[in-house]
């Protein structure tokens, strides 16, 4: 049938299973917006295009589907850059559709023209500039295919205004997409699987490093089966959390800079590391020269360029994690590593006494207590979306995730301002779920305008502001490494309760631990979005900590008593 390019966009999105998009209109995308009204797609009007990309991202992370963000040319498109880069670093499938000036004026510095395919080239998995209506369908189909296959990632489709306005024959092609230069390898090669088996059989102190792929390739069952059959403990990356239940006896918890010391010490003492879909980021390895020098290493990874990138491994297996484990599982021997596991448990016991969650608050409101109490009150069942900083690390330490896709956080890029919009996106993916955005007072203010979006959409997300009056993580680094010279970290904040009220939303203030349960109940009772302003201890720090680039064993330990964590001596 003959359709306008603008209509073709929505015809394609509907066929890709899209029912919600996050966007902001403008001149070059107006034809598409006009056509949108005739299609069964809900449009969420954001307050800034960065919010649209984070919402699409949060939607994708919560649902496993592709999230879609729409913006106009020029500033609309450039405002998306941070959100696209966030999705790229964490391999999140989103498709961004941007309007572009007419094809005849491209390259003339026309009003609101910007070279968005050029700008986003290094931060997208792929991008397209479409200048003819008849090419829109193919570009969108390929965009979705690329975004959600292989190592997932963001794809941008830039469509000129004249391509949206002109007419083309539309026929949906439902044959598999064929891209000769794009052939992700899902199944591992048999010979490398054999080589891996030899190492697995010999290992005395094996350890699984479970990354984001446990979630993205739906490998929960297979990872658990592998761990249980081989009696191998599992250390998690930040993005892996929830991939297997926190309560599972083999789950050690998070590794890396703010991981528990027993996890990092286990890595350093292991004789075999099984890296399951993780990428040996500097935040988990510390000093590469001293990283797990005693261990053989097997790396299962969908992206061949990640193998040997940071850590030289003994066996690199290119493949989808789930597919690869399915190949391995029939051959892995049932083993027991009683001694090794007892050894790790002994390290655990020593550390647990330092843990803040077991210590009294002594009248202070500690962020770790807030998050731990939220975990108890939500029975660990909420979807938590964090921002970036101290609260993010406390969340990773004190909210124990049992289910995949219940922790949504910007890991690779560390994007402040991510939480609120991503939480809104997650709510659209999981309307029945209890969604909590846990944000710092700094990051919250970067995208706080999206409270209007939540209010206009009449959706409920719970925003827990961990308000310490500082850019806390930076302040912590200044305390540890810059002689407490607090350059540009103290914040003078607005009244967040009033800010919520100004949006017609409820605001609650909490200043002591005893009030957390009642604040939680009050938040639940509210129909709409709620902001809770937790006025926490100002100069609290995240422990333990491996200083950037230090050896994993060289952790700054958690102080033994709360007195040591309190602000001024």
């Amino acid at each position: 049938m003959q359709l306008k390019g603008a209509q073709v966009i929505w015809e394609c999105l509907v066929r890709e299973g899209v029912d919600v998009v996050f966007g902001y209109p403008g001149g070059a995308i107006l034809p598409a917006y006009d056509a949108m009204l005739d299609y069964p797609i809900h449009h969420v009007l954001v307050r800034h295009e960065q919010g649209a990309t984070h919402m699409a991202d949060g939607y994708a992370r919560a649902s496993g589907k592709v999230g879609v963000a729409v913006a106009t040319s020029g500033p609309g498109a450039t405002n998306m850059v941070t959100g696209i880069a966030t999705a790229m670093m964490d391999s999140i499938p989103i498709v961004c559709i941007t309007g572009q000036v007419g094809s005849k004026v491209i390259g003339t510095d026309a009003f609101q023209e910007t070279d968005v395919t050029g700008i986003t080239l290094p931060i997208t998995k792929h991008n397209f500039l479409v200048t003819h209506a008849e090419d829109i369908a193919e570009a969108i189909r390929e965009a979705f295919f690329i975004a959600k296959s292989g190592r997932q990632g963001p794809v941008l489709v830039d469509i000129t205004k004249d391509a949206q306005q002109s007419t083309a024959e539309f026929e949906w092609d439902d044959t598999p997409v064929r891209l000769p230069g794009y052939r992700p390898q899902y199944r591992p090669l048999p010979e490398v699987v054999q080589h891996a088996m030899d190492l697995i059989k010999k290992a005395q102190r094996p350890l699984i490093l479970a990354g984001h792929a446990v979630v993205t390739s739906n490998a929960r069952r297979e990872v658990l089966e592998f761990a249980e059959k081989t009696d191998t403990p599992v250390a998690m990356t930040l993005l892996g959390l929830g991939g297997i239940p926190a309560s599972h006896p083999l789950n050690l918890g998070m590794m890396g800079m703010h991981g528990e010391s027993w996890v990092n010490n286990a890595i350093q003492q292991a004789d075999l590391l099984l890296a399951f879909g993780m990428r040996f980021d500097d935040r988990v390895t510390g000093n590469l020269k001293t990283y797990a020098v005693n261990a053989k290493k097997i790396h299962i990874e969908i992206d061949p360029s990640e193998i040997h990138k940071n850590v030289k491994v003994d066996v690199g297996i290119v493949g989808d994690l789930r597919e690869t484990l399915l190949e391995l599982l029939p051959y892995v021997p049932e083993t027991k590593h009683t001694e090794w596991r007892a050894h790790i448990d002994s390290m655990k016991g020593e550390v647990a006494v330092r843990d803040i969650q077991f210590l009294p608050d002594s009248g202070h409101l500690y962020a770790a207590h807030v998050i731990n109490d939220l975990w108890r009150l939500t029975k660990g069942q909420a979807v938590i979306v964090t921002d970036v900083g101290q609260h993010q690390m406390w969340e990773a330490q004190y909210y124990r995730h049992e289910q995949p896709r219940t922790l949504i956080t910007s890991g690779g890029l560390g994007t402040m301002g991510f939480a609120l919009p991503a939480a809104i996106g997650a709510k659209f993916a999981r309307p029945d779920a209890d969604i909590w955005a846990i944000v710092g007072d700094g990051g919250f203010q970067m995208t706080a305008a999206e409270l209007s979006t939540a209010a206009q959409e009449n959706i409920k997300v719970n925003v827990a502001v961990i308000n310490n009056g500082y850019l806390g993580m930076v302040r912590q680094w200044q305390e540890f490494f810059y002689e407490r010279r607090y350059a540009a970290t103290p914040l003078r904040n607005p009244d967040f309760v009033k800010l919520a009220e100004a949006h017609g939303l409820a605001g609650i203030r909490v200043t002591q631990r005893a009030d957390i349960p009642s604040a939680y109940e009050a938040a639940l009772a509210e129909k709409g979005t709620v902001v809770i302003d937790f006025r926490v201890e100002q100069e609290d720090s995240v422990f333990p900590m491996v200083p950037a680039g230090a050896d994993l064993e060289a952790m700054i330990r958690r102080p033994t008593s709360l007195a040591e964590t309190a602000a001024d001596p």
Binding site: P122, F128, T131, D135, Y182, D303, S305
Partner: protein, 190 residues
Amino acid sequence: MIHTLVVYVEDKPGVLNRVASLFRRRAFNIESLTVGHTEQPGVSRMTIVIDGTQTNVERVEQNLYKLVNVLRVDDVSSVPAVVRDLALVKVKANARTRPEILQLAHIFRARIVDASKTTLILEVTGDENKIEATLDLLRPFGIVEMVRTGVVAMVRGPGRIDSAEVASWSSAARKPAAEQEGDSGINHSV
């Protein structure tokens, strides 16, 4: 060690930008890069020369494969291959030096493609070493201007790749005939 990569790419606007951008952001060093058509419409061929002591060639290959428009990458450094660079060299020449330059040209099988009262242009073809050697000997006469095409390479014998494989990649082959000519309208980046 110097590595020569033969890279087949889809002939889309912006593909050179994608490859160049990759080298830049991953901090890979390029010694030389050439690009041109192949026997198959829709498929272009790049020859990229990399210094393996500065840049990890395996990482370059893997990252090139991450580009959707990159079809195939072959490192031809360890197989017998014809490797050619072409240089045009304009040297100062007068009645006294001209015969000497012509003699050098003869030794290096360079062609004289232009002559004036004060200059000669030599066209030298060969691998890096031969061109460097020629330049070294011409330098004392005074090089006025010099330009090099960059290296192109081809594996000797039947090689590892056949025309059927190249043809299967062609986006022209995947599209209806009407779209084969001219601008397809999809620029994989500008």
